[in-house]
């Protein structure tokens, strides 16, 4: 039980990864896919930040010139800052594509499906 709790962040990483990945794979709505992608990426952020945490440590911003305190690891934080920015850039570009798809096809799901089904696609 204790071991379970010690690794709780990593369990949550796995669960979030699964939720996001499922939405990306299984949902037909394109915006939902992008939301799934966000969850998927957030899981990875959690993985990195969790591995940088040190027990009893504090944020790697030195207060009052006290350089000898215990600090958590700054490197994963730097990596994830970059990754978050990459995530929002991908989201913005993806949404722009979705808007264009909506304009070109009149719908944002099942674009690859055969034409026969397009009747069922109109809002009910």
């Amino acid at each position: 039980m204790n071991a379970f709790l010690d690794a709780f962040n990593y369990w949550v990483f796995a669960v979030l990864l699964m939720i996001g990945f499922y939405a990306v794979m299984a949902r037909h709505n394109l915006i939902k896919k992008l939301l799934g992608l966000s969850v998927f990426q957030a899981a990875v952020f959690l993985l990195f930040i969790s591995m940088g945490k040190v027990d009893g440590g504090t944020a790697p911003i030195i207060l009052g010139d006290n350089w000898d305190a215990v600090f958590s690891n700054p490197l994963p934080q730097v990596l994830i800052l970059t990754a978050i920015v990459v995530g929002i850039s991908t989201l913005a570009l993806g949404l722009a594509i979705v808007v264009r798809i909506k304009e070109a096809y009149g719908r944002i799901s099942d674009i690859d499906a055969p034409k026969v089904k397009s009747g069922a696609d109109t809002p009910s």
């Binding site: 796995a14 939720i19 037909h28 504090t58 978050i84 949404l95 909506k102």
Partner: protein
């Protein structure tokens, strides 16, 4: 205490993510994703990563909510029910999950100070920062100096996103034939909500001030160019929400936004070119001044300014592109 709180927040995050993925109404999903971002940001803070928390909040809960809502306004918000369960997707997910769970079993425990992650490269950053850069925020030192090349890449990624959005749905982009001919008038904002308007307008200068604080205090406290740029953009977006998008565009015209987006990246890259010309390696700030520590600090301030300008320009350009699409 923080352990329990962290576990609680993570549980809520899982619940929120599940809800967001299950909801059939996309608007509900977007709202839940906003909560999800806030939860992740709170968790990052508990894991001693205030810089990341600030960014996640500004980006996840702020900017991406605005972008998603603008996109929803253009695409509609109901998700159609899906006819058949996607077995291949489900199978892939189950396999990946099984693997990941298997991996988790072996991971070093959370918070152990003796793992390679803590002892190898990262531990050296503290004495190195103290000796060569001498700023309190080690995250900023690593971000802007030791791994400054990555951050240049990050700025370029943001710029690429802006180029993409402008290319796809900017003013010159073609409009598909399936879109209704006149979608709506140019946004007039929340003019009829008088109290909102007054309070919002009072808030704007303070947000701008706060953005400047985050920008220039980034060496001493959580923050830096990216967060400041996002907050700056948020202030202008707030003005656009209150007074209508054209009003926001008249404060900073889209032409200027383009210059900001490209100019910030050029400032960052320009610092690298200057260091080359002065005989150093690319992005070796040390050559910028006789005193290497002062030179590092100077370099960091300049490139952070570049980051801030690019991010503000890019986010605003993207906001305008989405909001203006469909205006008559």
């Amino acid at each position: 205490m923080t352990g329990i709180l962290s576990g609680f927040i993570l549980s809520l995050a899982v619940l929120t993510a599940l809800g967001a993925m299950r909801a059939r109404n996309l608007f509900a999903s977007v709202m839940l994703m906003g909560i999800f971002s806030l939860l992740m940001a709170a968790e990052f803070l508990l894991l001693d990563a205030p810089d990341v928390a600030l960014t996640e909040a500004a980006v996840g809960a702020g900017i991406s909510t605005v972008l998603l809502l603008s996109a929803l306004a253009l695409t509609g918000e109901e998700e159609k029910p899906q006819p058949r369960p996607p077995w291949i997707g489900l199978a892939a997910v189950i396999i990946v999950t099984a693997i990941v769970f298997y991996a988790v079993k072996d991971k070093p425990m959370l918070g152990d100070p003796n793992t390679p992650v803590q002892t190898h490269v990262a531990a050296e950053y503290f004495p190195m920062t103290r000796e060569f850069v001498d700023i309190p925020n080690v995250v900023t030192a690593v971000l802007a100096s030791f791994r400054g090349y990555d951050t240049l890449g990050e700025v370029i990624v943001v710029l690429t996103a802006a180029i993409g959005v402008l290319f796809l749905i900017g003013p010159e982009a073609p409009v598909g034939r399936k879109s209704p001919p006149t979608l709506r008038q140019a946004s007039e904002g929340l003019k009829h909500h008088q109290p909102v308007r007054i309070v919002g307008k009072i808030a704007i200068p303070f947000i701008l001030l706060f953005a400047l604080y985050v920008q220039f205090h980034g060496e001493y406290s959580p923050g830096g160019g990216f967060q400041a740029g996002a907050l700056f953009a948020a202030a202008i977006i707030l003005y656009g929400l209150l007074e209508g998008r054209p009003a926001a565009a008249s404060i900073i015209p889209t032409r200027i936004l383009r210059i900001m987006a490209a100019g910030g990246a050029l400032i960052y890259g320009g610092v690298g070119v200057v260091t080359l010309v002065l005989g150093g390696n690319f992005l070796e700030y040390t050559v910028l001044n006789d005193d290497p520590v002062v030179a590092q600090q100077f370099g960091i301030i300049v490139i952070e300014a570049g980051v801030g300008i690019t991010v503000a320009g890019v986010l605003l350009a993207i906001y305008h592109a989405f909001a203006a699409r469909g205006e008559t």
